[in-house]
Symmetry: C2
Subunit: 601 residues, 2 copies
């Protein structure tokens, strides 16, 4: 390795054989795929056979530190987990903050590729470059929190732990990975893949440091980055003060907060008030928490019923609250604690419960199937029980544990699953923002706001960055920019929230300064295109076509009052040009197929 | 009129007959074209026969107040002058700040359409709704400043005056209109059209006020607008502190400051320092000045050789300075005084001098033709003399007064005119920013940064608004957004600099609140599309085709070192996709022809 900022070494773990094999990571490959999501995607698509069965023994599960993990750049603590999703069948890279990413990198490995299936439950320990597998039979069945505590005692107290809870063990299709108690690699069911391998946790520690390759360039970029984060209102004030729950009121004001499985966006103002970040701050809130190297600290520490823990994020409030007609911060916070301990994605759980509630409202689903639970929208007091049943796959929870699409199909009304490619939509109404609608339809992992570009943010920033929420003609370009920028954040290991204040110019200068790579902003953007083209090729190989780049039927056919007008997304007038402009600007053909590898890559 | 915020009355002035006829402006037409540039374009294209000869008697010259003139919105003092340009043959709307626009509106007329040609020089007086024509033979031959002073004494001391200087009288093809001494409707030669009609000046005064139609909505929008302008760094600090001259160093740092007729961007650092806004502030600067209702106050009042006046803007420093190899603030400031008094566009004059200097450098042009003036790049001491000769059309100045394209053609080297559609480029190197390159190629009035979308700004804002300067695929959408937003600023009568901090959401709320029109941001954006489609249709009628949407040959064939690499705009790899994406996103066909009027309009 002449390039700096990396270990240049990955760890191959074959759980069937119990083998642990370090392997070199070539400089060209690192420069091609950077790290985090990019490197995970590059590895899965270039170096592994296509995993026919996401839960099969041969399917790889890839843990990658972000390229800037180990640097001092603000928010540079994020890492990715890449595999084929058992929930959607697409490629998925789940992303998490916390402190695990930098710890993995400092332990001596840039990435860990896990394959095979252990005959018995095990955990993987990496301490200062030394890796070992240990039996985990006595940990199996524990929640993530207890397992984490036990593993720190076993390995070393400074260790960072990435674990599954019971949901991952039992194959909940939207099971997550949990680190630092409440930071999760949430979406797409990576936890189920990990559980299927009988792997309970990764435990890492190391003290390697990474000096910047070009100190002067790096320092200048660092200074500018810090200054921008301090000076933009979103990162300087809004997120530190209220965290993501501050979005509740903003989204409600913009007619974007979903209600009753996305049937409408009509909440009573007093309900919104109850659910708001402002109210959370006044009631359960104890103080802010932050991930590695984060000056923003958007995390909320709360106390509920005497128990201290991580507070619900906006997505949890929207999907397990507003969209279900539930506005009780305490009930949602307790269910959120459960999700963090069982290891489940709150967005998919919320979306699945919302679909169940609409089925119940229609009389398709009754108390007979639910085991006596009245699943009406707004019914109070059942959220924790439903969460537990799902995470443990008990009773009706077994059906819920397969996600909204399988549920709605089972009852003959697949259109009630508000998902794209089988992944439940997060808490942003797409009829209220064409950018986000297109983002959902084109996100590589399905109905996701983040890999869809967090394009919704274009609609409510105010001032000169605002893009009209109902814009059609030019919005594809904005969505692509947002997706590209997000893909680079995910690969460099930076937080999406920092991107509210940073541009790709800063990314390029930080990366070039830290690693010494001769790369500028344009070339970095080409990397983002390559990574997303590879994701697209994987999905095409998995059988996805243009027909899957769509939205739930509801949004095309049911108009709801938004900004004083009845709006829907007209399939021909709105959606077709959005998608076709998107394909064209991506350089994909009319069926959404990228060019053969090589062009501009 | 049930819609508020307008007079609903225009004034038709036929100078051949000496007639003055008020006419009603229908609500539907106002709502369709808003005001300022939009209303001028709408009137010229829908209500007037196509003017075959821009300087012919029948060619109309249209003065229009911005839709928000007369409101209290920040920077809402701008107005437009629309006609067919004698320099380019395209449609042109020249835009100016100062105090004339609101005064025109408060005088009782939203717009004035001037046609015909007066047998003798005249001036038009409008006082409190009463219009009259007066002989101006004793004013003919005066500079704009003296004429303005005399006319205020004649009409009323509070009057605002929009006048031509000697350049307009004598038909300099890039003659401007001057108001308030140093605010000019500069580009495209509207001054020559006014001179061809024997019209020296418009003098206006009135005291009509315009209460907001929806007070609550208007006040909320006003509050938000003021807050955004106060909080964004560009409008809160950069422009107030250094004015547009603050761009000199920024552009030089970004390799965007042109040199030697755009042959390169290599200036000595000490020269840039001399020309900089920082140095202007340290030397000639007296204090800031501002247009009507402007909280930014980017204007610079200076004193040179004991004479107080308006300081040079960035464009003047770049085009009559850096691009000529001249870095003397004093010499440029004096020449700028002359341009303001003679009434000439400093960008086109600078571009024409630059072309002449390159012809001189090549030996095509010699001291024989220039009347003994050595026209080498960087030659000091001749700038004022050349300016005067051009404005008065004396000697070699007569040739210069026809602009760079006619000059370069005359000497057989048309490619040395750095112009698009015959309009000289402003001070931003297009090889250094693909967005601006596309903006230049597609601006309706030719090589213009403003109607080209001021897309260059995308490249240097830093932080999350930064768009890579060498981006290709998605940049057309950004350029269109910028052009649309700019078109709305020009129509509403707001300043482009306010748009650094405002979005079209603010535009819509201000306009709806002020006029009571039921219109939202999306519909306002549709107005921007209509206006630009009408401009495009006019230009097609004038004989322009896709072939004219191009750049000077230099930028396709001569690579210069930028950001450490040799860059040019490759005609096939870069420029073709830029233009084709642009057409497509605009909804134009492959030849750049808009659809038949009506669709979405």
């Amino acid at each position: 390795m002449t390039m700096m900022g990396y270990n240049g070494i990955g760890l191959d773990v074959d759980l069937s054989r119990g083998s642990l094999s370090p392997f070199p990571l070539e400089e060209g490959f690192l420069l091609r795929y950077l790290g985090g999501r990019g490197l995970g995607v590059g590895w899965l698509t270039e170096r592994e056979p296509f995993p026919e069965d996401p839960l099969g023994e041969e399917a790889p599960l890839i843990f990658v530190s972000g390229a800037l993990n180990g640097s001092s750049a603000p928010t540079s603590g994020r890492f990715s987990v890449t595999c084929r999703s058992p929930l959607t069948g697409t490629i998925v890279s789940a992303n998490s903050g916390g402190f695990f990413g930098p710890a993995l990198k400092r332990s001596g490995f840039d990435m860990v590729v896990v394959r095979g299936k252990s005959p018995k439950p095990v955990w993987l320990n990496i301490q200062e470059g030394e890796a070992s597998l240990h039996e985990a039979s006595d940990l199996w069945g524990l929640g993530a929190a207890a397992a984490t505590e036990r593993l720190r005692n076993l390995a070393s107290p400074q260790s960072r732990v990435l674990a599954i809870g019971q949901a991952g063990e039992r194959g909940v299709l939207f099971a997550s990975l949990v680190n630092d108690g409440d930071r999760t690699a949430g979406r797409g069911g990576c936890g189920a893949v990990m559980g299927s391998k009988n792997l309970k946790a990764l435990v890492v520690h190391g003290s390697r440091t990474f000096p910047a390759a070009k100190e002067e360039l790096y320092k200048a970029a660092l200074y500018q980055t810090q200054k921008l984060i301090r000076s933009f209102p979103v990162t300087a004030r809004a997120l530190p003060e209220l965290g993501t729950p501050g979005l509740v009121k903003l989204m409600a004001d913009h007619d974007m907060l979903p209600h009753r499985n996305f049937q409408d966006v009509s909440h009573r103002p007093e309900d919104v008030e109850l659910l708001s970040g402002e109210n959370l701050r006044k009631t359960l809130y104890v103080g802010p928490t932050g991930c590695a190297l984060c000056p923003i600290r958007c995390g909320r520490e709360i106390v509920v019923q005497g128990v201290r823990g991580g507070g619900p994020e906006y997505e949890t409030l929207a999907n397990m609250g507003a969209n279900l007609g539930i506005y009780d911060l305490q009930e949602i916070s307790l269910a959120n604690y459960l999700c963090n301990d069982l290891g489940m994605d709150t967005i998919s759980l919320g979306g699945t419960l919302a679909a169940a509630m609409e089925l119940f409202e229609r009389g398709v689903l009754t108390v007979k199937e639910t085991g006596g639970i009245p699943l009406a929208f707004g019914s109070k007091g059942f959220l924790c029980r439903l969460t537990e049943m799902t995470g443990l796959r008990e009773g009706f929870g077994k059906i819920l544990s397969e996600g909204s699409l399988r549920l709605a199909r089972r009852f003959g009304v697949p259109e009630l699953s508000i998902s794209v490619k089988g992944l439940e939509l997060p808490g942003y109404e797409p009829r209220a923002t064409t950018a986000q609608a297109l983002g959902y339809a084109t996100s590589p992992r399905g109905g996701c706001h983040l890999q869809g570009g967090y394009a919704v943010s274009l609609g409510f920033f105010g001032g000169s960055r605002e893009v009209d929420r109902f814009l059609i003609d030019t919005v594809a370009g904005h969505v692509i920019d947002q997706q590209d920028s997000g893909c680079l954040s995910d690969s460099l290991g930076l937080c999406r929230f920092a991107s509210f204040s940073l541009g790709e110019g800063e990314f390029a200068r930080l990366f070039a300064g830290f690693t010494g790579a001769e790369i500028d902003q344009t070339e970095l953007q080409d990397r983002a295109c390559l990574i997303q083209n590879q994701e697209r090729r994987f999905n095409i190989r998995a059988g996805f076509t243009r027909r899957d780049d769509t939205l739930p039927e509801r949004f095309f056919t049911e108009a709801i009052p938004l900004s004083g007008k009845n709006r829907l997304i007209d399939r021909e007038l709105h959606f077709r040009p959005l998608l076709e402009n998107y394909y064209r600007l991506r350089g994909w053909d009319e069926e959404g197929v990228p060019p053969a590898p090589g062009r501009k890559e």
